[in-house]
């Protein structure tokens, strides 16, 4: 989630920003900026913006999309647009950037005067989600960070890359090769995410300013809560009355095995193999369901056993938490980010949830969020 007081609202306090988001007498003004190929400001084209939404599906290949109606053409497939919102209560105002997008699919409505364009834009991961078209190899001894930086620099995307520095010195123990094959669809994003996954970092994402980011993958249940959604707090509640919860224990796994690849010796438990059994925890455990339901054995590219264990734990956690999802409508929460952690308090229950997807309406209407309970 964006920090409450990060630029461009760094002159406000966290309490002031929170009061704007949760307040009732707040005016919402949408905006749109044109950026250059290095994500630098070119011009404000807010006057062309008729309506629009910004969406984020954190589990998709390209996470961020926007759907805009514009009264003017831009360079389709080239120009970058940055939608934003300004929340104001007459005394203070705060601006929230909502991502940088490349417009790919314009549909012109010729019956209107002036002509309007209904367009869909994708976040800057779309520049990486293209086939490599050749064999690509990273040699052993190269740091993972250098390998990723090299790809992004070579593609000349113009975005900054911010990687958590925890494993900045970690190097490839073996060559990694993505070989060209007939019908090969390996993308640069696949390669980067393979590299990040090898050191147990999260898949790359693009933030609200078009910067690429990744951090070590941490179990969602152990991450700090970034926002509290409390339906009983009338002074700060932004959750609409209609809300659903879906519970699903069909084919829920309670046994997992992960095998590290490559290995130069026979993989055994603790050295190349990591097996997890949920015997008694939660509603999908072997005890609760009365049987063992095995997940398909997964072969993971892992730098070492520690990485294998961490990757395995993340998969197990993801597998277990799909048992409950909340579908809710929210008033605009423009600090929303990537895979945020929120606490959802409703009717006396309290769940720690990971935000799988969200929609922000630029005009301020309530929009759908999907939360996964991670405290199963």
């Amino acid at each position: 989630m964006q920090s409450l007081t990060q630029a461009p609202r760094q002159n406000l306090t966290a309490a002031q920003v929170k009061s704007l988001i949760t307040g009732s007498q707040v005016q919402i003004t949408p905006g749109l900026e044109l950026l250059d190929g290095n994500n630098n400001f070119v011009g404000d084209i807010s006057s062309t913006l008729v309506s629009g939404t910004v969406e984020r599906n954190c589990l998709a290949a390209i996470h961020g999309t926007c759907n805009l109606v514009l009264e003017g053409a831009v360079g389709w497939g080239v120009d970058r647009l940055r939608p934003f919102m300004v929340l104001s209560n007459g005394k203070i105002s705060a601006r929230f950037n909502l991502g940088v997008f490349v417009i790919q699919t314009p549909v012109a409505n010729l019956a209107e005067n002036p002509i309007t364009y209904s367009v869909t834009g994708y976040d800057l991961l779309c520049f990486l989600d293209v086939p490599v078209g050749d064999t690509y190899a990273v040699t052993s001894g190269t740091t993972y960070f250098t390998a990723i930086q090299s790809i992004i620099s070579a593609l000349n995307i113009g975005s900054n890359l911010y990687l958590d520095g925890t494993l900045q010195s970690s190097t490839l123990p073996n060559d990694m090769v993505w070989a060209l094959t007939p019908g090969s669809t390996t993308t640069w994003l696949d390669i980067i995410n393979d590299l990040l996954g090898s050191i147990n970092y999260r898949n790359l994402w693009a933030d609200e300013n078009g910067n690429f980011r990744s951090t070590p993958a941490v179990l969602p249940s152990t991450r700090a809560v970034e926002w509290i959604l409390d339906t009983s707090d009338n002074t700060q509640n932004i959750v609409a009355p209609k809300r659903d919860v879906t519970s699903d224990v069909f084919d829920a796994h309670n046994w997992w095995r992960f095998v590290r690849t490559p290995m130069t010796t026979k993989p055994v438990e603790g050295a190349g193999i990591y097996t997890v059994q949920n015997t008694s925890t939660g509603r999908t455990s072997q005890t609760a369901l009365g049987r063992t339901i095995k997940a398909p054995v997964q072969f993971l590219t892992a730098a070492d056993q520690t990485s294998l264990t961490a990757q395995g734990n993340a998969i197990v956690a993801a597998d277990q938490r799909v048992s409950r999802t909340f579908t809710i409508s929210l008033d605009p929460l423009p600090v929303a980010g990537h895979l945020d952690i929120v606490q959802f308090k409703d009717n006396g229950s309290s769940d720690i949830c990971q935000v799988d997807s969200w929609v922000t309406d630029l005009m301020g209407k309530s929009s759908q969020w999907i939360l996964e309970a991670v405290n199963a």
Partner: protein, 60 residues
């Protein structure tokens, strides 16, 4: 990690490197049963991204 079989050419005998057909960049490669191959020999390869490709035999 789907494995796909393709064809290629040996660009270096030791340590073994191969160029998959259609590619402009070669890469290190592994072999089955310590088999040896000669420069420019045509070979059949199993790719297994992101592991190094495996040369599984010479083209006849």
């Amino acid at each position: 990690m789907p494995e796909i079989q393709t064809h290629g050419t040996v660009t270096q005998a030791s340590p073994l490197r191969v160029l998959c057909d259609g590619a402009t960049v070669d890469s290190s490669a592994a072999v089955l049963n310590a088999a040896t191959y000669a420069l420019n020999q045509r070979v059949t390869i199993t790719t297994r991204d992101p592991l190094v490709p495996l040369v599984i035999g010479a083209e006849s």
